[in-house]
């Protein structure tokens, strides 16, 4: 049963013609679209290596039937850094040595981005460890991963704080009739 799938992946529209309905989102990303940054570690939702953001939520893409994602927006590891600048989570992973072999790393990074967006952990290491426990790392770079997520949280908070300050200043100036 041929079917046509429309996906927006990393901001780019993709039309995927499938000859049958079986492929997972992971296999479509890797084998049809050619975005191989997302990894297959278990193909049954147990390791997290295939984590992507689906409409902003982190999911195991091996558990998503591609056909069910028609019309969705997907962000993969390839779409995380704009113009060559690393996302704060990516930079923190390098600085905190949060990986060794690097195979689980795209999933870890996407999961961390999703986790921080969920806003449930703050900078609490225990909550971060719990929230990152769906992403296995056999090299066991866990101490670095936790440190990296805490680090990224702090950076993003600081950046958010600066933006808020900027907004406040702009608003102050606007109130006082000054040009922004």
């Amino acid at each position: 049963m041929p079917l046509t799938l429309h996906l927006t992946v990393n901001g780019e529209a993709h039309r995927v013609d499938l000859t049958d309905p079986r492929p997972t989102l992971l296999d479509v990303l890797r084998e049809r679209i050619g975005l191989t940054g997302t990894k297959k570690g278990c193909d049954r939702g147990q390791c997290g290596a295939c984590t992507v953001l689906l409409d902003g939520q982190r999911v195991n893409s091996c558990l998503v039937l591609a056909a069910s994602a028609d019309g969705a927006e997907v962000t993969t590891i390839e779409g995380l850094s704009a113009d060559g600048a690393l996302h704060p989570v990516q930079a923190a992973f390098i600085e905190n040595d949060a990986f060794q072999c690097g195979f689980c790393t795209p999933g870890q990074v996407m999961s961390a981005v999703g986790l921080l967006a969920e806003g449930e952990t703050g900078g609490d290491p225990e909550r971060i460890r719990e929230g990152m426990s769906g992403n296995l790392c056999r090299c066991a770079a866990y101490p670095g991963i936790t440190a990296a997520v805490m680090d990224a949280f702090a950076r993003m908070e600081a950046a958010e704080g600066e933006r808020a300050d900027d907004r406040a200043r702009t608003e102050d100036r606007a109130r006082q009739g000054e040009p922004a």
Binding site: T36, L86, D97, F99, S133, L136, A140, Y142
Partner: protein, 758 residues
């Protein structure tokens, strides 16, 4: 033995080239050279390759452990849309080498459809090649194998126990020194205990994967391997082609841990498939297919008998192991050999027997022998300390081996005392109550502290490297090394830059391809030492050639300096007697009209040093656990290790290796176990839901301290190795902490709540 060599500073080579020094790059805690590639998804692993015209292969795994395949519905599979070909024993193309032959001691028998026999669950019994992965997977299901099953032999009662002369890779299975029985008889305290460890599977996050393509008689392989250049000869032998006709590209390995060092049946089938259909073929293992044909850590049953005098000194140490292997090959986990080199005892006996079960052949898995053996040894030492009424650390210090207990040789270096001190202090060991069940946390959980000693040998293999200085003053170093997470691309490049006397950003480090000089094998924690030695020597050789040109050139400020009177750093040669007189590499080559100068180097153990010294990395690990008094839920709340492993090339990466190894210790102690169905012999937990490895939440606090150690015997660079030692010591430390928390001696791994509940 007299020692005429003067102590050397860590920055000076004991017997290397005079021209170059380590230290400008090596020793720095650089972040990973491949970090950016890995966090952006641009590091290319084998399964990421998609050459034009590529087909997908899925192999069928046997679901019985012993018997014959009686039927495969090839017609049904072939009729499925997209299926291109089905390979079974009936049509499998011939191989030039018998998969059941063992042409060299490291060869393992493999299953490549040589017949219809099944000898373990998970064995490949057919292969389906299709246009899509989905079609190949469906075709594999449609084959619907039928079997004539025979009873699986999965335990001591049904399996054959056999005597052996060899354990592990060519190690003697028996070692005896002194009279163990007399030592036990004379002991004031005796301990005898039996420990079991289960079958464990490597389960690297990257499943085994291969993209195979033939160009005439040339075989092109994209696959993860811990030995790119060495594996070409192995693969070539199966196809009757010269090794140079095989190209293996392995830029990144998604974790190996010993499972990606050898030829496997499924890999051969993928190569055959590509030849059969005349197109590139990709084959990636499913996670459940990681349990079977790619090796594992064989199960052991170990018995320790220790005798100690009233002062706590050992009078006898007896360690025997029954190691499980397959029905058709002989790799035995050399568990008892872990007791060879750790503690001083006048009488020692380490012996192995084999047990044949219907499982895939085990092999090397991170610290093979050392992990299982030290788990049992460190638990037994703890039981002996208790019997002597001594603190576990004091007991180990009473039995500190000043010379190697096995050979009597001096250690090339041994900073174990410093490790004990550093880790104990950091952990806060002093004041630990001797008796168990004395400590509780704020929430009423039982708290226990335990410790273990860590040890791992420092083997070197053989490697070659090539180093080139270019006209613009940049350098290239080439070696078929393996980046599998240990940080080879970073650490080896640091050594390479120092060998060439240039800054790291002026170096092009080329690796991970079998066409490059043979980098040996990334195993045995010996890759940095071996490949690093080859790289450094190659760089020094290139610098020597450059120096010869400069000192003979009247126009050079270095003219007239003896060849050994110059030193390389920062891309310049300096006169040793007047460092202000120097010249850049680029200027020397330019005047000589050369576009480049190339040096070559080899890395291997100095045979004289090997004969005269015992060489090991050492460490000490301290563990804190909490146990819920009602539910027996276990948490490893703290691990502190201190390790002395010679020169540390990159402290950031070495620390990660060590903490990673320690976390493997948590997995060994508490999580990892393959449960086989005794009727079918199938692993019942061949996935990550059932085969548990530590997750982030299991690891609240792990710390590895690096203890400074200078070793001028182990190799010219003074490098030992850090890849495997972390798991040794840790398992025992956790088990001993569990006893200290609960008063229950745990002797079967992994430790489960029900054991503690009694």
């Amino acid at each position: 033995m007299t020692d005429m060599i003067e102590p050397v500073s860590p920055d000076t080579l004991a017997n290397g080239s005079a021209h170059v020094r380590l230290g400008s790059n090596a020793g720095q805690p650089l972040t990973r050279a491949d970090g950016r590639l890995k966090v952006t998804g641009r590091a290319t692993f084998a399964a990421d390759n998609r050459p034009d015209g590529m087909l997908y292969a899925v192999y069928v795994s046997a679901t019985i452990a012993r018997g014959r395949v009686t039927h495969l519905d090839v017609d049904a599979a072939k009729a499925h849309p997209g299926v291109v070909e089905v390979m079974t024993p009936a049509n499998r193309p011939p191989l030039a080498r018998d998969p059941d032959a063992k042409p060299h001691p490291f060869a393992l028998k493999v299953d490549a459809l040589q017949n219809d026999r099944v000898r373990y669950a998970g064995q490949p019994i057919a292969l389906v090649i299709a246009e899509t992965l989905e079609a190949a997977a469906e075709g594999a299901v449609l084959l619907a194998p039928a079997y004539a099953a025979e009873p699986a032999r999965m335990d001591e009662a049904t399996g054959e126990i056999f005597a052996t002369e060899i354990a592990g890779f060519g190690n003697p299975a028996l070692f005896e020194k002194g009279d163990v029985e007399a030592g036990l008889a004379a002991a004031a305290r005796r301990v005898e205990a039996r420990y079991t460890t289960p079958a464990q599977y490597h389960n690297a996050m990257e499943p085994h994967a291969i993209v195979a393509a033939w160009e005439g008689d040339r075989l092109i392989l994209d696959m993860p391997t811990q030995a790119p250049a060495l594996s070409t000869a192995e693969f070539a032998s199966f196809f009757g082609i010269p090794p140079q006709n095989v190209l293996v590209r392995s830029p990144f390995i998604g974790g190996g841990f010993g499972s990606k060092a050898f030829a496997t049946g499924p890999y051969l089938l993928a190569m055959l498939a590509a030849r059969m259909v005349g197109r590139p073929v990709k084959m990636v293992h499913r996670r459940d297919q990681q349990f079977g044909p790619v090796g594992h850590r064989g199960a052991t049953r170990q018995t320790l008998r220790l005798g100690a005098a009233a002062d706590g000194r050992l009078t006898a140490l007896d360690h025997t192991a029954l190691s499980t292997t397959s029905s058709f090959d002989d790799f035995l986990e050399p568990a008892a050999n872990a007791s060879h080199n750790m503690y001083a005892s006048p009488a020692m006996r380490m012996a192995h027997q084999g047990l044949r079960n219907d499982v895939g052949t085990p092999g090397a898995m991170r610290a093979p022998g050392e992990a299982t053996g030290s788990a049992a040894l460190e638990c037994a030492m703890d039981e002996a300390a208790e019997a002597c009424g001594m603190d576990p650390l004091a007991f180990r210090l009473a039995n500190y081996a000043e010379t190697d207990p096995q050979t009597g040789r001096p250690f090339s270096s041994k900073a174990l005392r410093e490790c004990y001190t550093a880790a104990a202090e950091r952990f806060g060991w002093s004041g630990r109550p001797l008796a168990p069940r004395q400590m509780r946390d704020d929430e009423g959980r039982l708290v226990g502290w335990g410790m273990g000693s860590a040890l791992f040998p420092c083997p070197m293999f053989e490697a070659e490297a090539r180093a080139t200085i270019h006209a613009d003053g940049t350098g290239t170093v080439e070696i078929s090394a393996s980046e599998m997470g240990q940080g080879a691309l970073t650490a080896l490049a640091q050594i390479a830059a120092d060998g060439l006397g240039i800054d790291g950003d002026r170096l092009d480090f080329r690796s991970g391809d079998s066409s490059l000089p043979n980098g040996g094998i990334a195993g045995g924690s010996g890759h940095t030492a071996t490949a690093g030695s080859a790289i450094f020597t190659a760089g020094a050789d290139a610098v020597r050639r450059l120096a010869e040109i400069a000192v003979a050139d009247e126009a050079s400020p270095l003219f007239g300096a003896s060849n050994s009177g110059v030193e390389a750093r920062g891309g310049r040669l300096h006169r040793v007697d007047d460092p202000s007189r120097s010249e850049t590499y680029a200027a020397i080559l330019s005047r000589a009209g050369l576009s480049s100068v190339t040096g070559e180097g080899k890395g291997a153990r100095d045979p004289a040093a090997a004969e005269s010294r015992a060489m090991f990395s050492h460490g000490a690990v301290f563990a804190e656990v909490t146990v819920d008094p009602d539910l027996a839920q276990i948490r490893v709340t703290r691990l502190v290790g201190a390790f002395a492993a010679g020169r540390i090339v990159n402290p950031r990466l070495a620390t990660s290796q060590l903490t990673g190894g320690m976390i493997w210790g948590i997995g060994f102690a508490l999580h990892e176990e393959t449960v086989y169905d005794p009727r079918t012999g199938r692993p019942m937990n061949a996935d990550f839901a059932g085969y548990h490895v530590p997750v982030n939440a299991d690891v609240p606090s792990v710390e590895a301290l690096l203890v400074e150690e200078t070793d001028r015997h182990v190799n010219a660079l003074g490098i030992k190795g850090v890849g495997e030692i972390g798991i040794t010591g840790t398992v025992g430390a956790i088990a001993n902490a569990l006893w200290h928390a609960t008063g229950v001696r745990v002797r079967d791994f992994p430790v489960k709540m029900e054991t503690l509940l009694g």
